[in-house]
Symmetry: D3
Subunit: 274 residues, 6 copies
């Protein structure tokens, strides 16, 4: 069950409201790299967690923290919109910078939300929940989470570079820090489970008899004219400790030329197909 | 530039066509764990790859392989639909198993595609390209790829368990094998780049001055009544080698109670808000 | 800032797991009538609330409660999936009821989530955040909320009718009760603000000079052959107390026949249009 | 069956074409507050109306009117695009206002529609029909409609404030007026059905035995540090006349700590979860 | 401006209600081959029509007819749902055919719409307006329309084959007939404009100087092992009368190996890319 | 099976990088008129092709070519973003053209992709695979393809007009040329199959007994006040050679006034509907 405090997790100040930056900030709320995604992803993973219950707790606690991130980012968006132009009339015609703002801000920040945050990304596209990856496999989930936090920290770093507002830089430096922790904490779970060798291949419960292992450890060069890029993935023991990496240059197809024959008479194809 | 051979990468046989399994198989084509996703993800990552060009080649070669996976899976779907019922008339009323098939198959396999594969998932929801994660950051991309392949191998293993068709089991064992390779090859890139310590936190180019590092290494327990789950993430050196993991029990908020004041007169709020 | 307790807001028991009912229950999580929607809607409304801060608090407190509803519903879905068939092999072929379950359950409950809840509706369509209505206008928001809770209670009532599992009926009776409170609490806000007469038309801050008031109070019968349905909306004072309802039978158009003239030469229309 | 007149329901004039305003206007066509939504919502509600047929007629007549609103708004968008720049070449480089227009208009108004209206919102996101709320419950539908019209009038008021084009202001004043009528006519239906007391809780046909009524009338304060906001919703008779509003400060969870046990062996979880 | 008659364009009778067929029928309402699509496509094309106004009229008249098709199909769906099971309790457990229906019908026909039509396809996916193709180019639009009607008639034919309900067959035979007319009327516009030779290539207003005409008339065989499929497209005059079809076997790439160089220091890539 | 060459199909040069043009170019990658759509459409049509296998080959070869178009367009987008501003700080405040670029470019080209192409359209909306039309009917598919290429050539022509960059104009002239070939090659298939008379109505396999042919050849004027637009579609032999076009002015409805009666007691409608 959830509870709430009236205060924000972190202080939010905006020295110079900037409605265009408000649009950019939305990516951190409703983008695929944003906070709604991680909050919901950890929440649904927690609800589906089987096995040692400490992972369920870990996930739910961080899900709860991410909800607090949505909240202070939402406040930051609203503060950046505080003085946004709501008229195209006199100013915009006369002043090209105002015209640029009218064109460059999210129009729905005026039209739909009345100058506050929305659950959309920087293009105004609403977040959709298909991005909540929760597989029921602990290792797959941990990698999805580390990936999400890596993407989140890339985004926060780019937002930090975009602005010179001291308040915004301060808030973003907090986000960058928490993304540092979160990407490592999920990878630390994998380390605790024995590291890559014990974890891979995900899922590690698939019986080897279900796998055509002669195809499990070669890198396939599908290029007609480029040499195989050599590296850790073309030689040496595989990361799961079960095999040895090799490479195959442009192999021949192993399968047949597909043929579905004629169309069925009742299938509303053209007569010529039947 | 792309080229094509008329043969499939891998042989596809279906001993007993099963239109309900065709619906389930669609997840491996148009699901978020499926082949369209990885083909397009590696393709777009390749097109945006900066730095050492061997990673671009690596990505493009595997993107090309994944296109071939779509192709043989598409053939498998069509073969499973070969004898699907296209009438609710006599049989369905009389035979509950036929009724179950009519209800349990994807209706659009009859209505829209004429008994062949579609770029949709097992619910019939079309794949959308927001799932193509390509950040311009090599490490973030590699983690996204390892995650995608982990999810893909979980899916292929579940499909393997669902069917007892020998042809389908054979094809899926090939997919499981290639997913084994692919998830490891992307993690091998990270190993080649120096492993976790050199790679983390992603992005590793963010100056430390942009980060509130006092918040970078503690696990935050946001629960009111559960103890902190202890593990690799609450003690010891951080994975990036820059700090030490600690934990904080239910901390107080660091921020203010948010207040946006009154609504602007021209904002079409209610008068009582102004 | 958010906090969490390890216990559910309400007890969840499932006497007879039913994977098809799990699919139906998803509508209460990820449907437009579901709990993700109201949790996020109240959350974003709270973040954009201007004027008397008590409405912000009211919204945030109920947003927090709705997060707890997602949580216990998610547990209910997982419990209903506990014994779901994960193989089409022997049983399904032999037993039409098992075949019906395989066809009638959400395939992604097996394939994607590993037998737990997902943020999707009963068709498996992911929730998308465009359904979070938060306008910055308090009255519009309150109506959106009352509407959402009305729809939610309709849904919960239909789910109650569908099942005869005692545990599920008990949980749903709690949901029905909370939806009773929530739909009334939002309407109570409107009553406190002076009721319909003071509130309407939303927004009540639009100057009357912005409105062609000669068109504000007639019901327009656009039918060629049906009489105007008479009622409270065709006679008597308008609900905002500013006018009198009347009716107009099939009126003539007030506007012109539209004509855009010729296409511009550089617009890639056909030559014949230019 | 539908019919059409060649003339618009209302006169549309644009004195000074403004391609950026064309983008903003799209919200009134293809936004969730827009005319496609209400046209389709009333249409589908009408098709599903059971009980007294006058409500079906009422809905269908207004659905028909809303189709006419789409039509004149579509014409307004096209007229605003009449002189839009279709080249980034000389002008845009030299003139920052032209550059702002090229950046601020919807690029697809040039690229995709050839300078005319599209069924998209102000962000260019296509309208999707999940926003058509039609529940089969008359009261829930009426609230959904009043909500939609409230949102629509908020939007029209904001568009009115944005422009100083006399023709556009005239057209929008007509829209504001019709939204005044429409929001009231749907609430008038509720009044005719006996008002809130008879209508609530929606659905009013749910037997009281299906409801845990001990939870039906308290406001739940989920905040750890904020007092309960007092108001009409915390005291006095409930709006449905069946109970009395009360409040509960931060209550303890009523449910269990959830536990799903171990993962099934065939579920492709990690071995450690089994 | 639109008007409405209280009667349906065509009689709808359902002899034996079939809730599973109701799900299938939805494709004709909210599928990409369905009536909402064509109604809205012709409507938006009409609103953007430039040049001879008779095409605007033609489009608007047929748009209006398609709205009437939505209406009678919506009634057909509701009639098919008339006796749908709304309980999983006793019957479903005992009777496998009832179980198949519960699993095979659209659950939202019970949960969300209260046994009536929805603007969704046969998978329950809501129609989205991105499928409204309206380019401002008359020939492109006519082809889009002929394509839509071809797809529509394929769908109607498949639905006809699926059912043996006399009422449904009668209604579908009317739809098949109207789709016959509509696909031909749009192609007749092209014939009137001079046929393929005058119309192609679309747009016919593109100056030849904008086209690398040496690449305009060869079929490119990109296969490594299949011969060029010969036909009307590899020899003879091109359909636009401007060139001669030829073929090219597997040509070499004409472009460079792409290289984006190093990542910018401020772009949040990994250090190794810079 | 697919293969790849390291070189682009066509040379890509950008003389003056323009991040706003990068946004516009995205429509040719991820728009409904773009290359992902045609690549995937031809690919899925090929996988479902039944009947003469040469059409399967034809489709797959051109699908392969379209993948190469995605690739060089993606490179063009990245080159246009090469010098994009990634800071709103000093420059943007001082220079209105920079401000216009910051507002007018796709923010996710900075935030999400790190200055490279994305699978989205010019509004930043991700491509979704519902636009892949593949019906299993050869003629319907050919028309869908000709339509797609017509739309594609309209788009390429508009992009050509928008830019004055010599490199971009050269690349677009190649695209225009290939779209010329592709739209004609699909129509050439129809010609080879006997032309319109043999092909129409699609599907030509529907038995005439399934069609209410008395409704197959009249144009229906649904306007109350406009005369029937006369043309090839109102007189003369139908294009399928089976009938004669005629016209009908505003006909009376053929159907009943719909009536669904009362709501079922267990359907959660309002009591007044029962």
């Amino acid at each position: 069950m959830f509870y709430h405090s009236g205060k924000l997790q972190y202080e939010v100040k905006v020295d110079t409201p900037n409605p265009m930056f408000a649009k950019y900030l939305q990516q951190a709320i409703g983008g695929v790299e944003g906070e709604i995604r991680v909050a919901m992803q950890y929440f649904f993973q927690a609800m589906g967690a089987r096995g040692d219950s400490k992972y369920r707790d870990l996930l739910m606690m961080t899900a709860t923290e991410e909800l607090s991130h949505i909240e202070f980012l939402g406040h930051a968006v609203a503060l950046n919109l505080q003085d946004a132009p709501t008229s195209m009339q006199d100013e915009a015609a006369a002043d090209p910078v105002v015209a640029a703002i009218m064109g460059g801000m999210n129009p729905r920040h005026v039209l739909s939300s009345g100058l506050s945050a929305m659950p959309v990304n920087a293009n105004g596209v609403p977040f959709d929940m298909s991005h909540v990856y929760a597989t029921g496999n602990l290792a797959a989930d941990m990698m999805a989470n580390a990936m999400a936090e890596g993407g989140g920290r890339v985004l926060a770093s780019r937002l930090y570079n975009l602005t010179d507002d001291a308040g915004m830089k301060d808030m973003l430096s907090f986000l960058i820090a928490r993304d540092t922790m979160h990407q490592q904490q999920w990878l630390a779970v994998i380390e605790e489970l024995g590291g890559m060798e014990a974890t891979l291949p995900v899922p590690n419960s698939t019986p080897e008899s279900h796998e055509a292992t002669e195809h499990s450890y070669y890198f396939l060069n599908t290029s007609l004219d480029e040499p195989t890029p050599e590296g850790r993935w073309t030689a040496g023991p595989s990361l799961d400790g079960r095999g040895t990496f090799t490479k195959k240059d442009k192999v021949e197809p192993l399968g047949q030329k597909p043929d579905l024959g004629k169309a069925r008479p009742d299938s509303a194809a053209q007569k010529e197909q039947m």
